[in-house]
Amino acid sequence: MSGIAIKNLNVWFSEGRDRVDAVKNATLAVQQGSSFGLVGESGSGKSTILRALTGLVPTWDGHMEAAGETLGKKRSASFHKKVQMVFQDPYASLHPRHSVDQVLSETLGLHGYKDIEARVSKLLNDVGLGPSFRFRYPHQLSGGQRQRVAIARALAPEPVLLLLDEPTSALDVSVQAEILNLLTDLRTERNLTYLMVSHDLAVVSHMCERIAVMQNGEVVELMTVQDMRAAKPKQSYTRHLLESALGYKRQEFREAGD
């Protein structure tokens, strides 16, 4: 099984009086080859789950399995090959003084590849940026192009599992459509498994088959995309999120006023 299995995961930050429980007793499973969405408001712990998976947060307990490995305090080199992450802000996740070529060659080098030349140009082609982008710096790229570079970097070690942390929330809708299409194509071509975090329910419903709704660090509801589209949530919180996602309703200001 090379999907993700998380059982009773707790993640916290700092100790004693300042302790914040960011994720409480979360349990979820992602099938290999499927796409799973985590939704919730800021501070609900959705990104923290991704960070705990990749080993960016050391303070957690519970059971985590990803890409066929049971995760401990340290991650193996093979884990980092199989699991990669794409971050939210393409403006912040690329080194401003490294060219696209440097970004990708460094990643490939770290993962021990020898045929770096050929791989860099193949990666650029795969994400739809021709060879002309190879020696550009991030400031010479648009937001969408940067996010393509970030995706190329994540694909460099040929992962089986991609963790996507709000990959399109910093982009315009027209560019968002391009990136979402690219992610869909890559998933079919490479049989990838996605775990995607987003606050945009429409984006998640487009990309994912199953969805977990989080609130205050807890998974409050697990549902299929069909249930979500049919607006059949079991929890009132999920219904509230769905209603907010559908746009502004005039009469709502009375509720807000009390």
């Binding site: 299409n181 487009h206 746009g247």
Partner: protein, 288 residues
């Protein structure tokens, strides 16, 4: 009667080799309504809002045939007089409260300052007015918030405080530049509700700048769609889904939808002709 009438507005920025036109000759008017301006990043929507308040700094250049506020051309008045317009007659709420509140002043002092700059009132009255305003933006514990500093506030509360501060001098026009983009969806509806209620109660004009098509359709009365510094289409918000221009159509189709699943999203193909097409006028001849 139109509160605001903008004719042939240009915003230009000189670059090393050339002059960049951020807004290219747009015209529109605003009555007592909620007017939405939508477009992608770089379409000139925020620049339009700033130009109305003459907030564009040198070397940026703003030119217009006129910007009439109740019949008075604010392009022609001196900078000193402009201060009486800003805040008092036209206010602006920006995107992120974190960057627009003063971090070293208490919330109460900031709101009181906004009021006392424009009104001749005693301290006690100013305070009473500020408390009233905090209450109007649905802040539960105004006493505590009054004494708090901005870092003690959540994003949604910060934005409500901004709105309180902007509305306390009772302006005729409120320009809201992506007021809810930095907020969570559920807080977003609440903040929009407050803006909506206050605008209705006070009979103000609202210019709502946003990149979110769905939001603008459900919130505004009339929408201007901007592309490359020009208005490409004007339509009634509830008829946005019947929009004609290929750019508007493209934007609408590129959105993933909860109610209609699709295998692939449509990708917007940009036509160079859109850039060259003349700006559509967003003016409504008064009275309608």
């Amino acid at each position: 009667m139109n509160i605001l009438d903008v004719e042939n507005l240009w915003v230009r920025f000189p670059t090393r080799s050339d002059v960049f036109d951020a807004v290219r000759g747009i015209s529109f008017s605003l009555g007592k309504e909620r007017l939405g301006i939508v477009g992608e990043s770089g379409s000139g929507k925020s620049m339009t809002g700033r130009a109305i308040l003459r907030l564009i700094r040198k070397p940026g250049m703003v030119t217009a045939d006129h910007i009439l506020l109740d019949g008075q051309d604010i392009m022609a008045i001196p900078e000193r007089k402009m201060r009486d317009v800003r805040g008092q007659r036209i206010s602006m709420v920006m995107q992120d409260p974190k960057f627009s509140l003063n971090p070293v002043m208490t919330v109460g002092d900031q709101i009181m300052e906004a009021y006392s700059l424009h009104a001749n009132a005693t301290k006690a009255e100013t305070k009473r007015k500020a408390m009233e305003m905090l209450d109007a933006v649905s802040i539960r514990d105004p006493e505590r918030v009054f004494r708090a500093y901005p870092h003690e506030m959540s994003g949604g509360m910060g934005q409500r405080i901004m709105i309180a501060m902007m509305l306390i001098p009772d302006p005729e026009i409120l320009i809201a530049d992506e007021p809810t983009s930095a907020l969570d969806v559920s807080v977003q509806t609440q903040v929009l509700g407050i803006i909506d209620r206050l605008v209705q109660e006070r009979g103000m004009g609202l210019i709502f700048i946003s990149h979110d098509l769905n939001l603008v359709t459900s919130f505004c009365d009339r929408v201007l769609i901007m592309y490359a510094g020009r208005i490409v289409e004007v339509c009634q918000a509830d008829k946005l889904h019947e929009a004609q221009h290929p750019y508007t159509r493209g934007l609408l189709n590129s959105l993933p939808r909860l109610d209609e699943p699709s295998k692939r999203l449509e990708v917007l193909k940009r036509d160079p002709a859109w850039r060259e097409a003349a700006s559509v006028s967003g003016s409504v001849s008064a009275p309608a």
